[in-house]
C-alpha cells in the first residue's frame, strides 16, 4: 500500500486513499464493488515533469490498487495528466469533459472508462440524495 504513493504525483495520494478504502471493504462490500464495476483500469499518469507513472485499479478480480502495469491485461488504459486525474477524483472535472477536451485518452474498452467516475467516487464518502 505504501508503495502506491510516489513523490511528484499528486494522483498517487488519491490512489493510496482509494487503496485504503478497498482494504477497508469487507468481503461482501468488495464483492459488491467488483460486481458493479467489473474491470481493470490501467492509469498512465504523466506528472508535471513529464514523467509517466503507471498504476492499476483492479475491480475485476482482486479489488485492489497497485503500482505498475496491470496484470492481467487491463480492460482499459487511461492516459492522462496528474492534474486531470486529481480533478477527476475531486469531482471538479467529469470523465466526459476530460475525454472530449482530449485531457483523457483511452485505449481499450472505452465503455469501461465511463465507470472510472463511479470508482473514484468511492474514494470519497458521498452524501446521498
Amino acid at each position: 500500500m505504501s508503495d502506491i504513493k510516489v513523490d511528484g504525483w499528486k494522483s498517487s495520494e488519491v490512489l493510496a486513499t482509494l487503496s485504503q478504502v478497498f482494504e477497508s471493504f469487507s468481503d461482501e462490500e468488495k464483492k459488491a464493488q467488483i460486481q458493479k464495476t467489473k474491470g481493470i483500469f490501467e492509469l498512465r499518469i504523466k506528472n508535471a515533469e513529464g514523467k509517466e507513472g503507471v498504476w492499476t485499479i483492479d475491480l475485476k478480480k482482486t479489488g485492489t490498487v497497485y503500482k505498475g502495469e496491470a496484470k492481467p491485461k487491463p480492460d482499459v488504459a487511461l492516459i492522462l495528466s496528474d492534474e486531470t486525474f486529481t480533478s477527476l477524483a475531486e469531482g471538479k472535472l467529469d470523465g466526459q469533459k476530460a475525454f472530449m477536451t482530449g485531457k483523457l485518452k483511452t485505449k481499450g474498452n472505452m465503455m469501461m472508462a465511463t465507470k472510472l467516475d463511479g470508482v473514484l467516487k468511492t474514494a470519497k464518502t458521498k452524501a446521498k440524495l
Partner: protein, 658 residues
Amino acid sequence: MSLQGLISGSECALPANPLSQVLKHAEGDRSLQQDRIAGPSSSRLHHLPGTTAHTANDRDLALAQQFFERGGHNPAGASLSLPPHLPPVEMGRLMEMSRVQSGGLNHAWPEARASEVNPFHGVEEIKTPGAWAAEFSTPSHPIMTGSSQQSMVGAAFQQQTPYGASGMYSPPMMNMYGMNPVGIQSAYAGLDPRYNASLEQTQNKGKGKEVDFDTAFAQAAASLNVVQAGETQSAAPQEDLTSLEARLKDVRLEESTVRDADDGVLASDFKHYWDQLQSSDIPPPVEDLAKWEAEFNQLMTAQREDTDFYNYGDAMQSAWDNGLGDYGDATPVDALKFDEEGLPIFSDYAFEPNNKYLGASTSTRSLLGDAKELLERNGSLSEVALLLEAAIQKGELGEGGYETWILLGETRNMDEREEMGMRALAEGVKRATESGAAPAGMLSLAISYTNENYDRAAHTMLLRWLQARFPSLPIAEETLESVKHSSWDSHNRITDIFLQVARSQHSQGTVDPDVQIGLGVMFYTQGDFDRAKDCFESALALRPKDYLLWNRLGSCLSNGNKPEEALGIYREALALRPTYTRAIYNVGVACLNIGAHKEAAEHFLSALALQDSTGGEKSEQLWFTLRRTFFAMDRTDLAEKTKTRPAVETFRSEGFDF
C-alpha cells in the same frame, strides 16, 4: 486556414505539440515586420482571404509574372494599373501614397532609420530552421503579390517550394533578408508595394555572395529607376528619389568591408548584421528545409495517430457484441447485468425473514393502512418497511398493484437501505407501467440509481418519466437511442429536454417541482452540484414541508464541498422527520468530510441504533461508512469489530455517545 491549423490539426491538440512553440515565435515576430511593411496588422486581419493556399499560390505566381513582365517594358502602365483583387483599404492607401509621395518619402526615410534599431528581433529568437523559414517567407509573400491579401503564414509555407521551383527566382535566400538594408525597405513600405516587390526580387536573387549582392543592388536601382519613371508622371519628387538611389548604389557589401556609404551608421550596422549572420549558426539552406519538412510531416502523422487512438465505432460495436458488463474472463464474481438501456437487472426482492407482522394479524385494519399511519406518525422507518413487506406478502398491493411496492421502496431508501429500496422501486415501477400509471415511482427510482452511481439507468428512468409525464413532448429519436450508448452521450441530451420543459413552464408562469427535481438529478449525476442545488431550492420553494427535498438539497451542498452549509439544511430535514435515517447518515458523512470523526461515528451509530429497534438487518452502507470512520480515527481495532456486526450498544463503552 491558419498556421496553427496547419501544424496541430485542431486547437485542442496544441498543448501537446512541441511545434506550437515555434508558432509563438513566428507569429509574434511577424506582426512587427508586417506592421512596417504593409501597415498595421490589425487592418490586415480584416481581409484575410478565404481562398485556399493552393489557388492563391497559382494566382500569385501569375500576378508576379505579369508584374515583372510589364514592369520590364511598360513601367508606366504597371504603376497605374492596380491589381484587381487589391482590397479597398490597400487601394485607398495606394492612391493616397501616389499623391503625397514626396512628403511620404521624406517622412519615411528617417522613420525607417529609427526603426532599424532592432531589425534582428525575430531572427535571434528563432532556433528552428522551420520557424526561420516561416519567418522570412511571411513578409516576402505579401510583397510579392503586390498586395497584402496573402498574409497567411500557412500559405507562405506551402508556397515556399513552388517559388523555388518556378524558376522565376533563384532558391530563396532567407538570410539575405536580414542583411537587407532594413531602413530602405521600410522606407519603401509606405510608398507602394511595387517598390517592395522589386526590392524583394533583388533580394531573392542574391546568393549570399557579394557578387550577387552587387548585382542585386544594381537591379534594385534599375527597377527603382523604372518605377521612378512612372512616378514622375504624377509629378513625383525627383530629388529625394535620386539621392536615395545614390545611397542604394552606395550600399555595397564587400567580403569583409563595407564601403563607406554616405550614411555611416547604416553602413556599420549593415556590416554588423552581415557578420552576425555569417557567424550565426542558424542553418538556412534549402536542403535543410526539405529535411525539416519531412520531419514536420512525420511529427504531424505521429500526432494524428495519437489522437485517433481508438475507433469509437468499433469500440461501441465490440462492447455491444460482448454484451455490456460482460468482458470475457471467468471471474469469481458474476458481473451485474444491465439491460439495453443500462438498467441493472436485480434478483427478486428479498423479504426480511422472521417478519413479526407476518403472523396472524390481530389488527382489524389493513397492514398497508397501518404502515401509512405509522409513517405519518413519524414512526420507525424499519417498522414501516416491515409492515409494508408483510402487506405485499399477504397480497395487499394497494392502488393499481404497485402502491405498496413503491412505498416500500421509498421507505427503504429513507431508511438508508438503498439496495432493497431500489429493488422494491424497480418492481413498483414495472407494475405501475404495466397498469398504465407510468410516472409513479420513477423519480424515486432514478434518484436511487443515482445514489448507486448507475448513471445510465438514472438517465433512462428520467427519460421514461418525462415521456410518461408529458406524452406530447417531442423527444428526438437520437435521445431515446443515446441511453443505449453511454451516460456521456445521454447526459447532455436529457438535460436539454428537462431545461426545455422547465423553460416552457417558466414562460407560462408555473414551476413544476418534479421537473425541477428531475433536472436537479441530471445536474447532480454530472457533478454540477451548484446547479443541482438551485433546482432543489426552487422545488423546495413550492414544497417547503418535503423533508426528502431538504435532504437532497443538503446532499448537493455536501457533495459540492460545502459540508458545513449542508449541516444546516439536514437539520431542517430532521426537524420535519426525526427518524429520517438517511439524513442522519448524511450528517455523519458531512462530519466525516469536515474532519469531525468522532461526531461522524456517533451519527452513524445512532442511525444504526434506529434500525436496530426492529431487530431486522441493518444498512450495509452504514456499517461500511462507520468502519471507514474508525480507520480515519486510527481505531483499527474498532474497525475490525464492525465486521462482526456487533450490537450497536457495545460501542457506547468506547466512549461514543449516540
